[in-house]
């Protein structure tokens, strides 16, 4: 590889680095500030780095709420939801992208419509419905409404549309069933898309606050982000623990992100250049 140092390259490097700084600065600030004392967080003039580093805020969070139990709840909820949702989304997306059937356009439009409904709008009816179905305060009640998503279907449809036609035709020639064509030929090519959709779902469910709080009633079922919200304080905000709590909810996601990252950054390219 030979490099030409042109003005354009320099602009590019500066630009990309500028964005890197703007992204990392707040996250770094969050990280170091979670080690500040209460006074250190709200001192004037503000300090970027703590004057004295302390674990106190983390200890406080750990004492106040059952972090590990909530972590387990969140993992169960977000993990199962992601697995189920990704499978259903991919199947539906595949059908909309590669198959012909009556009412396809109307059905797809209807599915798109569900993307346009803010959760706040259907929150109360959903609560009543879950009560009628006996789903309140259970994992099933948390997972089922999230077991598919219009966004995921839409996204998988876009990916499947990009695959070459020759593949499924060869499958049909071999007399494979539609499901086998999908499962053995098409799906493996979409691994990167599936991983990135999975990460998307996992993060959304992990970070969701209102939804799990609304549909569960016992402290036993609390997820991490909902549990951490309790620390913030109603009348007197506790900034120190709030920052530590934010950091705690972020770390598992960062770990998962680092693991999956290479899939959807590298993998997508190899996935579809088999053309």
């Amino acid at each position: 590889m030979h490099k030409k140092v042109s003005i354009k390259n320099i602009i590019g490097i500066l630009l990309t680095l500028l964005v890197v700084v703007s992204v990392l600065f707040p996250i770094l600030w969050l990280f170091v500030s979670s080690f500040k004392t209460d006074a250190g967080v709200i001192t004037y003039p503000p300090q970027f780095f703590p004057r004295e580093w302390t674990w106190k805020q983390y200890q406080y969070v750990n004492q106040s709420i059952p972090v590990l139990k909530m972590l387990r709840n969140t993992l169960t909820f977000a993990g199962l939801t992601t697995l189920i949702s990704v499978s259903f989304d991919a199947m539906a997306g595949y059908a909309f992208a590669r198959m012909h059937f009556k009412g396809k356009d109307i059905l797809f439009t209807i599915i798109l419509l569900t993307m346009m409904v803010p959760f706040q709008v259907i929150m109360t009816p959903l609560y009543l419905e879950e009560f009628k179905l006996g789903l309140l305060d259970s994992y099933a009640g948390l997972i089922l409404p999230r077991a598919t998503s219009a966004f995921g279907i839409y996204m998988m449809k876009s990916f499947f549309q990009g695959l070459p036609n020759s593949l499924e035709e060869s499958g049909r020639m071999d007399g494979m069933s539609e499901f086998r064509i999908y499962r053995s030929l098409m799906l493996p090519l979409c691994k990167p898309a599936i991983v990135s959709l999975g990460v998307f779902h996992f993060m959304n469910n992990w970070n969701d606050l209102l939804y799990p709080l609304m549909l569960t009633s016992s402290a036993e079922m609390r997820t991490l982000s909902a549990g951490l919200a309790v620390l913030v304080g109603n009348k007197a905000i506790k900034y120190g623990p709030t920052l530590a709590a934010t950091m705690i909810s972020l770390i598992p996601l960062l770990i998962i992100y680092i693991f999956c990252q290479r899939y959807f950054v590298e993998g997508i390219a190899t996935g579809a250049t088999k053309e």
């Binding site: 630009l15 199947m91 569900t114 959903l126």
Partner: protein, 300 residues
């Protein structure tokens, strides 16, 4: 002929099986509640759900005369019109530089995705604290280098732009990931002709890259627009709709009427929801008609 027809019938049946799980779940957990909301908008009903009576179009008439609804509509539209191009524009611009695979660009892409991993609540808290005019680090830095104290989230004229920038800051990495994936999928052969002509980077980007990834761009435009029209979390955490209702969006106002201000008028909140839903549906339809279809055709 016969064989093809038979295949299509078979194909149809399996197609319905493929979409059945999603369709059933969406019907039960989104459509039924949505239809209930629609029904509720024609009722006099509060969140306690006692003393329910038929309201006819009363809630919608009230909506038409409510200055806060028009204010929230304008805020929501401004937010969308500004946020979507910023988020997608920044992502596209950066795509030019990072859509290749080497260690440096991979690291950059990983970093750009970071804000998207964080919850909006976390981001809202962090930015509010950093931008606080009296205790925050950024206004303090700006003051040190000679600027006036700027209260980003508290100044009625700056609050909405600030919320827009923070939202784009959170979301651009995700858009970028999708765009880069699409760019990396473009066959090298397309560029070869242009290379022979000696076309510059910029011309190649405009003439080859952008048309090739148009379906992905359309996807990003549509989904980002839909979520921008539903903006809530960021204003809820950072501004609570203030100052002077300058950042009050439609979902924020729905939330306020239904759940924050007694008498918790669920009927009225649902009427505003129906109104918002209509706005989103119309905008999405128009976008799909004029942007998405073009994109899909361009790919074909």
């Amino acid at each position: 002929m016969n064989k093809i027809k038979k295949y299509q019938v078979h194909n149809q049946k399996s197609a319905y099986l493929f979409i059945a799980p999603s369709l059933i779940i969406l019907t039960i957990f989104v459509f039924v509640p949505l239809l209930s909301s629609l029904a509720i908008s024609f009722l006099n009903i509060n969140i306690f759900m006692k003393d329910i009576s038929f309201a006819g179009f009363a809630n919608f008439k009230k909506l038409a005369g409510d200055a806060r609804v028009s204010n929230a509509t304008i805020n929501t539209l401004i937010f969308t019109v500004a946020e979507v191009p910023v988020q997608i524009g920044v992502a596209l611009l950066l795509t030019m530089y990072v859509a290749k695979n080497n260690k440096y660009t991979k690291a950059l892409r990983a970093i750009y995705y970071l804000p998207f991993v964080c919850s909006m609540t976390a981001i809202g808290i962090v930015w509010s604290m950093m931008l606080d005019p009296n205790l925050g680090f950024i206004p303090y830095l700006l003051k040190q280098i000679g600027f006036e104290t700027i209260s980003f989230l508290k100044d009625p004229n700056l609050a909405l732009p600030t919320v827009i920038v923070v939202t784009a800051w959170k979301g651009f990495g995700y858009t970028l990931t999708l765009l880069v994936a699409a760019v990396l999928n473009i066959p090298e052969s397309l560029y070869e002709a242009a290379n022979m002509d000696g076309a510059g980077e910029w011309r190649k980007f405009v003439n080859i890259t952008i048309p090739s990834i148009l379906p992905t761009i359309s996807f990003c435009v549509v989904t980002t627009t839909i979520s921008a029209l539903q903006v809530f979390d960021q204003t809820y955490v950072m501004t609570q709709g203030g100052p002077l209702n300058r950042t009050e969006t439609l979902v924020q106002y729905i939330y306020d009427r239904g759940f924050q201000t007694a008498p918790y008028d669920l009927g009225y909140a649902s009427a505003i929801s129906v109104y918002l839903f209509t706005i989103i549906a119309v905008i999405t339809f128009v976008l799909r008609k004029f942007v998405l279809d073009k994109g899909e055709n361009a790919n074909a």
